[in-house]
């Protein structure tokens, strides 16, 4: 009898693990889409912050203030339920997109994380020595060449650690999509719990999946940081300096 109970346990855990693993593409897709969106938008915000026009700078500053000053959960509810209650959104051409909870979660995450990424990029931009820009100017480099050869490569290297932290945060934030009916890893875990009343083992399975995802991302970021570190030559002297 004990054996039968144990078998039932193993079957339940295997079924649950399978259901959770099947939801990984949803979590991963949401992360990748909003990471790309937020990075592009964040770059745009930094460009706007350094723009000559005061209203453009003001809009960028307001955007960052709004999205960094309120919880992502509230932003997700605002995009999903709040905007859907407005007639122009519901009758407008974008309703098929807004009707989809996954799109709404991605949109909210893109807007929110773009504000954090903009702050990271701005910090990196400020850390580039002014002398280098002046030297580039003195060499007669144009705006685009300056950006391509001097500013962007250094920004990338300087911003990477903090930018990587933001990406890890984003992986974790995808779990909030479950609050608006998205069946991601957390959503599936909650559904299993609501129907089986088993809490601890199901949550541990889900937590394990997230730990795997964040761990893999962290390892990837470490590798990228080493590659971009000018004091480390490729392969040979790895870990020698620092």
């Amino acid at each position: 009898m004990g054996g039968a109970a144990m078998n039932a346990d193993v079957t339940f855990l295997a079924d649950t693990a399978l259901a959770i693993v099947r939801a990984v593409p949803v979590t991963l897709g949401l992360f990748v889409a909003s990471a790309i969106g937020a990075s592009l938008l964040g770059g745009g915000l930094v460009a706007a912050l350094t723009a000559g026009l005061a209203p453009v700078r003001g809009i960028a500053r307001g955007w960052i203030f709004l999205f960094r000053g309120t919880p992502l959960l509230l932003q997700i509810f605002m995009v999903y339920y709040g905007l859907a209650a407005l007639g122009p959104v519901r009758q407008g051409p974008f309703w098929p997109a807004f009707r989809d909870p996954l799109f709404c979660a991605g949109l909210a995450m893109t807007c929110c994380c773009s504000a954090y990424i903009a702050e990271v990029l701005r910090g990196a931009l400020a850390a580039i020595p002014a002398g280098q820009i002046e030297a580039a100017l003195a060499c007669g480099m144009g705006r685009v060449t300056r950006l391509r050869l001097i500013v962007l490569p250094q920004m990338l290297r300087l911003a990477l650690p903090a930018y990587g932290n933001e990406l890890v945060m984003m992986v974790k934030s995808t779990s909030l999509a479950s609050t608006i009916t998205v069946l991601d890893v957390t959503g599936v875990a909650q559904q299993v719990i609501a129907h089986s009343y088993r809490t601890l083992d199901v949550f541990c399975l889900a937590a394990g999946v997230y730990l795997g995802l964040t761990g893999a991302l962290t390892a990837l970021l470490r590798w990228a940081e080493r590659r971009l570190d000018p004091t480390v030559s490729d392969g040979a002297g790895e870990g020698a300096s620092r």
């Binding site: 339920y81 859907a84 009916t181 559904q191 609501a194 129907h195």
Partner: protein
């Protein structure tokens, strides 16, 4: 070490809480003078809900007041989450539960139920201009306590209409279980954590229909927003959805339970329950009414 520290901390808190809860039991007087503490959720309109000013209102707060007055007992209602309510009853933090609790066999093993004071059906609700508004068996009673060829045929038609549709329900409620058992994988079920969120998505058309308690839906349909909605298809009762709403006591508290049982019988007989139902649900939710309808559907 830290994990152990947390455990130890939790242990202290738990021990303290248990001691405090246990000690509170007889604080408010003894015997028949004692104030009875009634647990309810306060989040399930119109059965019981919390008004913006913090007051509890609804069918059950009204009804408990009437029952206590009949029994010459002083009662005090407290709001708490359903998750902790049975535990609070067992530890004596509260004396009875009035939270539209459905009588089911599993619950009867840990709770002492009175006779039901209400019995309501589940109804499908959809937007007026939705295709599902013309679903088969409109208004017909689907009684899952009476299996037979009629029920099988209705279930088949229901599955046909809902195939490929998105049905929204509150997670782990009675209707969630029912839909899972009856529809299987035919329709896709979308889960919500509160009924308010589900209502918003029903109104903006993100879900095709919902299955909900008729007593909850009637007042909603009477509001300005609810005018866009309509009931569709059959009304469902019995089976996984339980045998009506009753008060719940500790199983050992038989004297108190039978006193309330008598008061419930009297208020059903003199029409008080019917009157309260019309006030809060816009319908007679008394068990007698449901029994008559179920008999008529035969």
């Amino acid at each position: 070490m830290t994990a152990f520290g947390i455990r130890a901390g939790l242990a202290c808190v738990a021990a303290l809480a248990t001691a405090v809860l246990g000690g509170c039991r007889d604080e408010e007087g003894k015997g028949a003078d004692r104030v009875l503490v009634v647990g309810t959720e306060g989040l399930y309109p119109p059965w019981n809900y919390t008004r913006p000013d913090g007051q509890l209102a609804g069918f059950e707060p009204d009804y408990v007041r009437i029952l206590c007055a009949r029994l010459h007992r002083r009662c005090r209602m407290v709001a708490m989450d359903w998750d902790g309510m049975v535990g609070a009853l067992q530890t004596g933090k509260i004396d009875l539960i009035a939270d539209s609790v459905q009588v089911t066999p599993e619950r009867s093993q840990v709770l002492g139920f009175t006779r039901p004071y209400a019995m309501t059906t589940g109804v499908f609700v959809t937007l007026r201009d939705h295709r599902l508004a013309g679903m088969a068996d409109k208004g017909a009673m689907m009684d899952f306590d009476r299996p037979g060829p009629a029920l099988t045929a209705m279930t088949g038609r229901l599955k046909g209409s809902l195939a490929g549709k998105v049905i929204g329900v509150e997670i782990s409620g009675a209707f969630d279980n029912f839909l899972n058992q009856t529809l299987g994988s035919g329709a896709s079920i979308r889960y919500y954590h509160t009924m308010g969120e589900r209502d918003l998505d029903l109104l903006n058309g993100r879900i095709d229909a919902t299955l909900e308690d008729e007593a909850y839906m009637r007042p909603l349909l009477a509001t300005r927003d609810g005018a866009a909605l309509t009931m569709a298809g059959p009304r469902v009762i019995g089976g996984a959805m339980g045998g009506g709403e009753a008060l719940a006591f500790r199983p050992g508290d038989t004297a108190l339970r039978s006193a309330f049982d008598g008061a419930i019988a009297a208020t059903i007989a003199d029409g008080t329950v019917r009157r309260l139902g019309l006030k809060w649900f816009r319908m007679d939710a008394s068990p007698a009414q449901a029994a008559a309808e179920r008999k008529g559907a035969r």
